[in-house]
């Protein structure tokens, strides 16, 4: 196990390095510079600024500085907001985005699996049809459309919930709903179909023949096997949700990372772009690693490493 983790760790570093390099190359290939919009066309000031941010150096030297900033995890100050460092921006924005992302994935997982399981147990029954109708709608409606609809109906017309910001659990309901509906629908469909398959397996029949209670058969025998495909898509879904928060954050005026990230790209705020990209990719790569570990726990047939003496 330790060997596997060490191996995975080095692979994670390599992945992050590749992403960082690509980001660097892409950023610098986009025309324009951070100071385009500035009215101070004084060349001396411009030169001084570029010198301060080391933008006057040749590209490969800039790249090395950039790598150094990744290793030390110090991306320096933002270009547009010089009194704030990238680390401070991350420390302020990321926890909120993380909270939204995690609540969303939790809600999606719980409701999706429950819905899918009940749909499978009542195959071709009314619950099944309702759940699958919801799933089709949920997958088809983009989350930003859903978000505006929710604000319009529930916050503005009915005045049940606050329409924006992120100041209390009550404020969290609408953004979470908007963000979680799509993933819930996908998980529900996936759980249903794999559950239907698992329920026809011999070991389920055998569990019935043992006289076990229906709850135990579903939870203990069926669900664990049925969840394998769900775990498989969790990794990519996580990436989708975390980047999806950017849009939702904007609609609900949530002060998360999304705002800074989008702004930084428009402004060519290199340190912020680099910092948040590297941070996000590191986070995602780590989550994927966790998903693989969960895999091994769910299904004993999956070996994360090869033991000596194993065929």
């Amino acid at each position: 196990m330790a060997k596997y983790i060490i191996k995975r760790f080095f692979m994670m570093i390599a992945t992050i390095l590749i992403i960082a390099t690509l980001t660097f190359a892409l950023m610098h290939s986009i025309p324009g510079s951070p100071f385009d919009e500035e009215r101070t066309s004084n060349p001396t000031i411009q030169a001084n600024l570029e010198k301060f941010y080391k933008l006057d150096e040749p590209m490969h030297i800039q790249y090395l500085y950039y790598l150094k900033s990744i290793v030390t995890f110090d991306f320096g100050p933002s270009i547009k907001k010089p009194n704030e460092s990238v680390n401070e921006l991350l420390a302020r924005g990321f926890p909120i985005s993380f909270e939204l992302g995690m609540v969303t994935i939790l809600v999606a997982l719980l409701s999706g699996v429950t819905l899918g399981t009940f749909a499978a147990l009542r195959h071709n029954g009314i619950i099944d049809y309702l759940a699958m109708t919801f799933a089709v709608v949920g997958i088809s409606v983009p989350n930003f459309v859903l978000a505006t609809l929710l604000i319009q109906q529930i916050a503005v017309n009915l005045e049940w919930l606050p329409p924006a910001t992120w100041s209390s659990p009550l404020h969290m309901i609408l953004p979470t709903l908007a963000l979680a509906t799509g993933p819930t629908a996908i998980i529900a469909r996936l759980t249903r179909s794999s559950m239907l398959e698992v329920l026809t397996q011999d070991y389920i029949k055998m569990a019935r023949a043992k006289g076990l209670s229906p709850v135990r058969i579903v939870v203990r025998h069926a669900l664990r096997n049925a969840l394998m495909p769900v775990v498989t898509i969790m990794g990519t879904m996580l990436a989708g949700i975390l980047t999806g928060t950017f849009v939702i954050e904007r609609i609900f005026a949530i002060p998360g990372m999304g705002k800074y990230f989008v702004e930084s790209i428009n402004n060519r705020d290199y340190p912020v772009i680099m910092g948040s990209t590297v941070f996000y990719s590191a986070f995602l790569v780590f989550m994927l690693f966790l998903v693989d570990i969960v895999y091994g726990f769910l299904d004993p047939r999956i070996k994360l490493h090869r033991k000596e003496g194993d065929a």
Binding site: Q201, D202, Y203, K205, M206, A207, R208, A209, K210, G211, L212, S213, R216, R220, H221, R224, N225, L298, D299, P300, R301
Partner: protein, 347 residues
């Protein structure tokens, strides 16, 4: 292990463990109603092994699933008849009532040991869960019992093996585990649905010996569902031959093998290779069983039968008792058909 030493006679008592009376099971499908079992009667005595033989789709497995309470309803329906287990009608029990019997008094062994065990649960858990659900005993005690069972079915190092998962066992070992699971609550009736079909021939013999050994130790009654007459010859006491949802002939092993009366039974025996009759060619039964969407009014075997008469097409024959155990449903037993009756006899 002294495989040879255990050839002592086993005891079969007169006590009826199971009585199946006029059992009808149908499945409602989009295409219409399939009558899978169309009036099956048999009794099973304590300590006896009854083999139910017949080709695919003749209703053997449906019969056993009905006894086990495993007919999915819907689409399945037990339309008629009853299944008395020690006098209690299983068809009338609620799901909860049935669960108190499933796995405790009646248990089942499935055909394919590669799929019958849950791949995500340890052997120990799969062994003990039934026990702990039904008998309300502690974890340690259940574990002790599980180790005992694994020893009984011949799995070495049971203590360590308990923690392992199904994929760490071979097919034969898995079938032993399935048997251990079926026996852990000390059932009185064991239904084995093609227990050796998915196994290598060498392993088959071992598993069959295990059955015999267990039956001698536990005085358990066994219903053996199979299409393998070799298996039947080895361990059955009585044989029921099923065809198109009905038992067409039933009798002691000797009676069925040496004096079969039903043309279908004869055909079945003739289509098995025999080492003692070298020159004879195998004679398959031509044709296929009837479609059970619309079962024939008369004897279902008429279309494939060499001795079919006018009456066979129209009326199903009643059961003729040839001895206390031997019964056959065939018009050839009627006095008016005597001429044909002895024209062909196997053995």
């Amino acid at each position: 292990m002294n495989a040879r030493k255990k050839k002592e006679k086993k005891i079969i008592s007169n006590e009826k463990v199971l009585q199946v009376n006029n059992l009808h099971v149908s499945f409602r499908t989009y295409g219409g109603e399939v009558e899978a079992v169309r009036g099956v009667d048999f009794d099973l005595y304590k300590g006896e092994t009854l083999a139910i033989v017949g080709e695919s789709g003749c209703g053997k497995s449906v019969t056993s699933n009905a006894i086990m309470g495993l007919i999915p309803q819907p689409p399945g329906v037990i339309k008629n008849g009853n299944i008395l287990f020690k006098g209690k009608d299983l068809t009338k029990l609620s799901k909860g009532g049935l669960r108190k019997i499933q796995g405790v008094d009646i248990s089942m062994i499935f055909q394919d040991p590669m799929t019958a065990l849950n791949p995500t649960l340890s052997i120990g858990e799969q062994l003990t869960e039934g026990l702990r659900t039904h008998k309300k005993i502690g974890k340690q005690e259940a574990k002790k019992r599980a180790i005992e069972m694994l020893k009984l079915v011949g799995i070495p190092n049971p203590e360590e093996r308990l923690k392992q998962f199904p994929h760490q066992f071979s097919g034969g070992m898995r079938q032993r585990i399935v048997i251990a699971i079926a026996l852990i609550c000390d059932p009185e009736l064991l239904i084995a649905d093609e227990p050796t079909t998915a196994l290598d021939v060498t392993i088959q013999a071992q598993i069959l010996e295990l059955f015999e050994e267990i039956q001698r130790k536990k005085e358990i009654s066994i219903i053996l569902i199979t299409h393998d007459l070799g298996v039947v010859a080895k361990i059955a006491d009585r044989i029921a031959v099923m065809y198109a949802g009905k038992i067409v002939e039933i009798g002691n092993k000797r009676e069925i093998f040496y004096t079969p009366e039903h043309p279908y039974t004869k055909g079945l025996l003739n289509s098995v290779p025999r080492l003692d009759l070298e020159e004879e060619e195998l004679q398959p039964i031509e044709g296929t069983p009837p479609d059970l969407f619309s079962p024939p009014k008369g004897c279902p075997f008429t279309a494939r039968c060499d001795y079919a008469m006018e009456v066979c097409d129209h009326v199903y024959p009643f059961t003729t008792k040839l001895s206390e155990a031997h019964g056959v449903d065939c018009w050839l037993q009627d006095e008016r058909a005597k001429v044909l009756k002895n024209s062909d006899r196997v053995g």
